[in-house]
């Protein structure tokens, strides 16, 4: 099976049964933004805006390269952004302007 076949037959999340290295018993206390991100996911689920399976699919849709470079909650928040854009709940312009405004709070001291 060549590389492109592997990419087709195994989507990024579909790793059950593959070989892998020994289990490293890793853990870390959540960063404040990670906990907010988790709470946001739950609230979006309660509000019927974005459910657990949509979230998982949204992460998988990032593709293996992005998944490989982002941490767990980084994948989540990027997936949420994409899903909210696709559902036309948010627009790219709104996110760009809000990001600039959030950044300005820290760089201009306002």
């Amino acid at each position: 099976m060549n590389e492109s076949e592997r990419l087709i037959k195994r989507l990024p999340n579909d790793i059950g049964g593959l070989p892998g290295p020994p289990i490293a018993r890793t853990d870390h206390p959540l960063e404040p933004w990670e906990k907010r991100c988790h709470a946001l996911a739950d609230v979006l689920d309660f509000r019927k805006i974005l459910n657990t399976e949509e979230k998982r699919c949204g992460v998988e849709a990032l593709g293996s390269e992005i998944i490989g470079h982002l941490s767990y909650y980084e994948r989540w928040i990027v997936a949420f952004s994409n899903i909210l854009l696709r559902k036309q709940i948010l627009t790219p312009t709104e996110i760009a302007l809000k990001m600039a405004a959030v950044e300005a709070r820290w760089t201009t001291g306002t």
């Binding site: 195994r10 946001l40 739950d42 950044e103």
Partner: protein
């Protein structure tokens, strides 16, 4: 190496996240703030909902699951109800389910050892155990638990005799699992609280048995 599980995994250290050296939040931290504020401004969610849910998340720890296990060990009726309908029994026990998930409780016996995993992502019985550890969400555990559970268990120091069947249950968005470990021998005189103190998160995932911690043996 493309078919190796680690090929898709890069759970890098987290010092790069959050605030960087200049004190400015990282990109993803700011993205979370931006998305949340936009949704609040549109009236789709409320800031207090996020705050309340953070409190709910903070209130869920493996100590809750440990109380469920201890009750099941001392109360045969509760155990039967728990195995019949995990969610209903936990709710009767006072543990609310904040998500729309079923809970199936898997009982370890002399002949069966259960292990839970989520191969596709990170589904976990959060209402009763809190958030999963990072290793549960990382690809080596997800990839290998279903194909070589005995080797995975051995890496946790758990050796399961060959005549004991190992059952691996793969969680989904809608169905979550909790392992009901075996009550250790020598705990016949323990109170329910003393039993609960023995039960760890990893035992309820199924990667280790419950054992008597010498420090906690009642006098």
């Amino acid at each position: 190496m493309a078919n190796q599980a680690q090929g898709h995994d890069h759970d890098h250290p987290h010092e790069l996240e959050g605030h960087n050296e200049s004190g400015i939040p990282g990109y993803y931290d700011m993205l979370e703030t931006a998305i949340t504020e936009l949704l609040i401004e549109k009236g789709l969610i409320e800031a207090q909902e996020i705050r309340r849910q953070i409190e709910v998340l903070d209130s869920r720890t493996p100590a809750l699951g440990a109380k469920v296990v201890a009750r099941a060990w001392v109360d045969a009726d509760f155990r039967a109800r728990l195995l019949a309908n995990g969610r209903a029994a936990c709710e009767d026990f006072g543990i609310s389910f904040y998500d729309d998930t079923l809970l199936i409780v898997l009982e370890n016996t002399e002949t069966v050892h259960n292990l839970i995993v989520c191969t596709l992502c990170s589904c976990y019985p959060r209402p009763v155990l809190g958030l999963p550890p990072d290793w549960y969400k990382a690809s080596p555990y997800r990839a290998r638990a279903v194909s070589e559970p005995r080797k995975v268990l051995a890496e946790f120091g758990t050796i399961i005799p060959d005549n004991v069947e190992i059952r691996v249950s793969d969680s989904t968005a809608a169905v979550r699992f909790l392992v009901l470990p075996r009550r250790p021998d020598g705990t016949e005189h323990y109170t329910e609280d003393q039993l609960a103190a023995l039960v760890t998160r990893d035992a309820m995932i199924g990667v280790i048995p419950v054992s008597i911690d010498q420090a906690s043996v009642p006098q």
